[in-house]
Amino acid sequence: MRDMTRLNGKTAVITGGASGIGLAAARRFIEEGAFVFIFGRRQDALDAAVAELGSNACAIKGSVSDEADLDRLYAVVKAGRGTLDIVFANAGAGSPLPLGQITADHIDETFDTNVKGTIFTVQKALPLMGDGGSIILTGSSAGTTGAPGFTAYSASKAAVRNLARTWAEDLKGTGIRVNVLSPGATATELAKEALGEEGQKAYGAMTPLQRMADPSEIGAAAAFLASSDSSFMTASEVAVDGGLAQL
């Protein structure tokens, strides 16, 4: 049990918080003293997450691509806590579709969640945030590398990386920082299921560290960006990718 309590008394929202990287970050934020609102689409996953996370977590069901759902999320945050310190805009989606077979629906779905959803997740949080606030956007190593078949996903994550650059300027003078956390291949439950043993090995082998990340390793970096340990960082990208997109 660590005695690091860098987020004591802080309030955090984590979208896509019921599983994978979002859930790992929620665990870590709570360990460090925060109260966490997790936001996700599946009630059963949210229930299971809150059962595990305990009394410093609250679940709200909704989709980041639905503005009314986001309004509901922040109404609950405002009623329960009054203010907000940390937003981890982490909800994202992506499936492969090779060039030649891409459909308009595929593009719309990907960008609705990853780009539009991220923009409104942050915009609607701002009235509750102030000096010392930290916004973390989930990017991806795919935002800087060529990932075969992932046109829409990769482009959407490149867009997310730029959002932090623009918003660092837009948020000048507010004391609110905004950074991108870009995971590489991460062994979430979903990824493990989708890839199987062989697939996990193949993804690991592509990475200089020769393995996939454990979600807790992404959670640790999110906690760093959420805390005052990163107080002179804004508009930065922290790649937590085992070197995948760095060399």
């Binding site: 650059r165 300027e169 200089p208 560290l209 970096a221 804004t234 937590v240 085992g242």
Partner: protein
Amino acid sequence: MKMLEGKIAVITGGSSGIGLATAKRFVEEGAHVVITGRREKELVNAAAAIGENVTTVVGDVSRLDDLDRLYAVVKAKHGHIDVLFANAGAGTVAPLEAASEAHFDQTFDVNVKGLFFTVQKALPLFKDGGSIILTSSVSNIMGLPAFSAYAASKAAVRSFARAWTLELKDRNIRVNSMSPGPIDTPALATTTGLTPEQAEQAAAQFASQIPMGRRGEPEEIAAAVTFLASDESSFITGVDLAVDGGMAQV
């Protein structure tokens, strides 16, 4: 548990500024630090400021004999290294048309050659699973008039992190560079060759170019270096972590 409990860390350029602030933070987090710098008096003062769990070795990273002496002390005292913060660096102002050969050589001797051998000579003592952090600079991706030698030397440092990540991956040693923006340290006024007025003007101009509207504090860099030094960054290697208030990011 603290982030660096029981770890042995070597910090070059450890007597002032970013290096000293990092040494303090490392010790707070449970590490033993060996700091090196060229000026004995500053090193002694730094050790007093750090208080405990600190060893000092006077030396210049651009002199290979000095590095051998440094690591002989580390070996005798601790037997191994967990964390290396290759931080010693130098930069003076010299417009392209006026820069001398001595200016160029001095910059690259310390920032590139010195850092290269600081890392090479540490490797026999390095524990598998350790962390190496190289001090680069935002200038590694920015055009800064009259700082071309410095900026180019820092781009070389960033490049080292890429190759060394692959060379050291089988030992599970992570290598990252860290790029500070302008930091409020004595170096700007004392080592760059600027007059006090020029240094003040430069500081104000830097602040206006930084989205956060101010220069960083050495403690803020130390916090980021501590993250890279610790297991908190266990899946981060080969990166250049910008700690620059957004200066080179927007």
